[in-house]
Amino acid sequence: MSEQRFNELRGEPVVYAVHRQNRTFLPAQERCPLCPTPATPGAPETEIPVPTFEIAVFDNLFPAFSSPEGAAEVVVYTDSHHGSFATLSPERAQELMWVWRHRYAKLGARNDIQYVLIFENRGVEVGVTLHHPHGQIYGYPFLPPVPALELAADERLGGCAVCALLARELSDAERLLYENDGVVAYLPYAARWPYEAHVVMRQHRPSLLDCSDAELGQLAEGLQRLTRGYDALFARPFPYVMVVHQAPTDGRGEGHLHVEFYPPLRTAHKLKYTAGSELGAGTFIGDTLPEDSALALREAIARAG
């Protein structure tokens, strides 16, 4: 069971999940807990005790949150140990959007969950502990600071902040990365990370529950085009944190479904660190302008197809 404390000076909750200290750390493929269990008699059972599957979701063995005070789930994208979100078939990526939507609905309906966060940490640079393609879902028993800031932005701008920012990006155009009928991907005007990108629903959709089947497919396509472009940018697997932002499930505020990527690389082999100014003052200092990064990333997306 985790312990939650409130940091008065920062005005934010901090969660201690000390049992996570001993979680599985970068196992070899033959010991991967996210692979299917071979049909061979006597084969050791993994977390998924079937020989094949498409997408699996299970309660995290080392949860940061657990019922009756939240949830922590693992979402395994494929039974193949290799590959990434970018290399999933378009059909599997679309299926994943529906799985996200299902889990958002089910977890968000619980009384003990106020916010559902769907995310993926990709690469050891952002602390991944299992290489098998997967993401996670946290059901928070409180509204975390970042979605609270987004609701505050809605209030400050007098309407949906994401809608306003999308309109600005479409008007400026120089930071656009990719568009289809359902989504627009851009590198934000005031990005905090060199290659930060937002994939935003073109229409105002508070959550995955508000999207049509076609829009879910277009969202999957936009996310895959971006992640393939990331890998093409420096011709290497590109680490990132991918986070789905949508409406809180406690009825506070509305939100606008979009997916934010926080990649730590600033060059092929150099990381952007959160250091003195970022951690001590809360102010990000950038080494590159978003417009220049957007140009390079846009070309990489076009190259990768």
Partner: protein, 53 residues
Amino acid sequence: MTGMPHEEGKQTESPGNSGEDDRETYGPLDIARHRKEDGRALILFAFAKRKRP
């Protein structure tokens, strides 16, 4: 606000007992719920569209 989960009414998921399946469909998904021996939930999703001729 449209589509908020809380508007559908608070629900409880009910996976079957250990080893038992609890099946449902959701949009294009076929869903099979299981309960692991230690009590944790395991849900397997398949894209039903794929099975259609």
